[in-house]
């Protein structure tokens, strides 16, 4: 739907130098949205309408609160669009399209492992909340640059969920030093040993991941190796955000080896990891 969101909170998230923002919008989208979906926000300084930037900005939902009619968007200021968005003040209305795309699907039972790289953690928070509401066990693997980033990007909120956290930082200032995929690999081999095997042992594990493409590709390879189903949330430059312009395609391969294009905005952004062709288009 095309609707408006009233800005009820718009604040700096964590340390100022991380350039992260938390934006809470009141409106009808919360009633129907699910984790993994996104909104397309019209980014305009309402005092000076302009066409630069021209396109809406797709931003994932970090929290969905249907009882309060609120959605939370977390984002990093990294270009003209987000720079202008960051000026939106409480009380302003932002034009929104959404909820858009296909979100994550939750298993009925078992354990959900979330694997996040950097600000890819944002949409996984909404997923963690739904999974916990449904009584699933949730574990987060999260890698970031350093301690300051992880704390700024919402670590306290994750700690409040009281779930197991496997943290890594590139400089070792928090959690393990290294990549998030190393922690995932460690945990997988602890459970399943070093050889590929069917994920039939109890509990059933499912993985959902969001982060840089290379990271998600590595996560997918690990999961495929252990026959663990994995959902990935892809990112691509979007035009229309509703599947009309074919600007944001990705390539999938099915079991028969047939390649096809899917629209990240409409068919995704969440896809089954094992179906994604990571090294570009055909």
């Amino acid at each position: 739907m095309l609707t408006e969101g009233l800005v009820v909170v718009h604040e700096c998230l964590g340390a100022a130098d991380q350039r992260l923002r938390r934006l809470v919008l009141k409106g009808p989208i919360a009633k129907t949205a699910k984790a993994g979906q996104f909104v397309a926000v019209l980014v305009q300084d309402s005092s000076i309408p302009s066409y630069d930037p021209l396109l809406r900005r797709p931003i994932s939902l970090a929290e969905i609160s249907p009882d309060r009619d609120e959605i939370t968007l977390l984002y990093r200021i990294q270009g003209r669009g987000t720079e202008i968005l960051a000026r939106a003040r409480c009380g302003e209305q932002l034009s929104l399209m959404g909820p858009l795309g296909q979100g994550f699907s939750l298993p009925e039972v078992g354990e959900l492992w979330l694997v996040a790289g950097g600000i890819g953690v944002f949409p996984l928070y909404a997923l963690a909340q739904s999974a916990l509401d449904q009584g699933l066990n949730v574990r987060l693997f999260w890698g970031g640059e350093n301690q300051s980033f992880l704390i700024s990007a919402g670590l306290p909120a994750w700690q409040a969920l009281e779930i197991p956290l496997n943290l890594s930082t590139l400089d070792g200032t928090l959690g393990e030093r290294g990549l998030v995929t190393e922690q995932l690999q460690g945990r997988l081999s602890e459970l399943f040993g070093h050889t590929k095997q069917e994920n039939t042992s109890s509990p059933q594990i499912r993985v959902a991941t969001c982060g840089p493409k290379k990271m998600m590709q590595a996560v997918t390879e690990l999961c495929v190796n252990y026959a663990v189903p994995v959902q990935v949330s892809l990112e691509e430059r979007m035009g229309c955000a509703v599947g009309a312009c074919l600007g944001c395609v990705c390539t999938l391969i099915d079991k028969a080896g047939t390649l096809s294009h899917k629209k990240v905005c409409q068919d995704g952004p969440v896809f089954r990891g094992e179906e994604v062709v990571w090294d570009g288009l055909c």
């Binding site: 430059r237 035009g239 229309c240 074919l246 395609v249």
Partner: protein
């Protein structure tokens, strides 16, 4: 005055109002259904199809520019056969005039598609894309050489009973020459303009931003170029024109009508505001009322007469 006649006639088809949507920005008509009811629109133009399915270009396919958008989708489409089976049956039921858009790499390609698309297919018209800048050895070639343009339009006209609209490329020295060629080929109407060829470079990567290097520029940035071309062609050629290029508001639309467009089409503007077509229809109506015009048809080309 409380009654403005918004209907318009274009290439023998009556549109309930002069507002249509551009090929390549409106999918196959269903994507925007939640945002803009089809029955409100004068018409829609479907995504361009080719004889065989095409996967299109690699990503990134999009790059923003000030007030503009570069795209290099590369005519990704399901191909003629799948279009006929999976999409055309839905198109028949759409409560608006539906214009199919065809692209090809050879004369035979265009003929093959035109032959398959006739009045009884439920379409209102056929838009012949001789102006796609994003595929090699085709599309735009037919739109930059007057002889080829005439030939392809004539070949299409010979095999379909649908009204034929030639979509012209602005990437030419003389748009009027191309419009005349389309007219000689028997075109019933013209779509002006397709995108302007452009590019961006990522200064950190020091590489072109689009995977395809070049893309077609659309959006408000190109509007003055489009208005100028509509004006020039309207002066020189006696064919109805669908004006397009950067229309996002009713004021933009009125500018095109005054320049000589019989109808206008909204493309990239849908991405910014999916309800732009509705607002533009209302805005045109309001403008006519304010200026004492009983029919939107009276607006067409008005700026030429002053």
């Amino acid at each position: 005055m409380d009654c403005v006649d918004l209907t318009t006639v274009l290439a023998g088809i009556t549109l309930r109002n002069p507002v249509v949507t551009c090929s390549g920005t409106y999918g196959f008509g269903e994507e925007y259904a939640d945002y803009c009811p089809l029955e409100a629109l004068g018409g829609i133009t479907l995504k361009g199809i080719t004889p065989l399915p095409r996967l299109g270009n690699s990503v990134p396919r999009l790059a923003e520019t000030p007030a503009g958008l570069l795209n290099s989708v590369g005519l990704e489409n399901p191909g003629l056969e799948d279009f006929l089976v999976s999409y055309l049956p839905k198109v028949r039921k759409m409560p608006t005039a539906v214009i199919a858009n065809i692209s090809g790499f050879s004369l035979e390609d265009y003929v093959q598609m035109a032959r398959a698309l006739q009045v009884d297919s439920g379409l209102a018209a056929l838009e012949v894309n001789i102006s796609c800048p994003n595929v090699k050895h085709g599309g735009m070639h037919f739109g930059t050489d007057p002889h080829s343009a005439e030939e392809v339009i004539a070949a299409v006209k010979a095999v379909t009973n649908l009204p034929t609209i030639a979509k012209l490329s602005p990437n030419v020295t003389d748009i009027v020459e191309m419009a005349r060629a389309a007219q000689r080929g028997g075109a019933d109407a013209l779509s002006l303009i397709n995108t302007l060829l452009g590019m961006r470079i990522d200064i950190e990567q020091q590489r072109p931003l689009l995977a395809n290097t070049f893309g077609g520029l659309s959006g408000p940035a190109i509007r003055p170029v489009a208005v100028r071309m509509v004006w020039q062609v309207a002066e020189a050629v006696d064919l109805p024109i669908i004006g397009m290029g950067g229309i996002t508001t009713w004021q933009d639309a009125v500018e095109f009508l005054l320049a000589g467009a019989t109808a206008i089409s909204i493309g990239t503007g849908n991405f910014v505001n999916p309800q732009a077509p509705l607002e533009i229809i209302q805005g045109i109506k309001g403008y006519c009322e304010k200026h004492g015009l009983t029919s939107v048809r009276n607006l067409v080309g008005l700026a030429h007469k002053g």
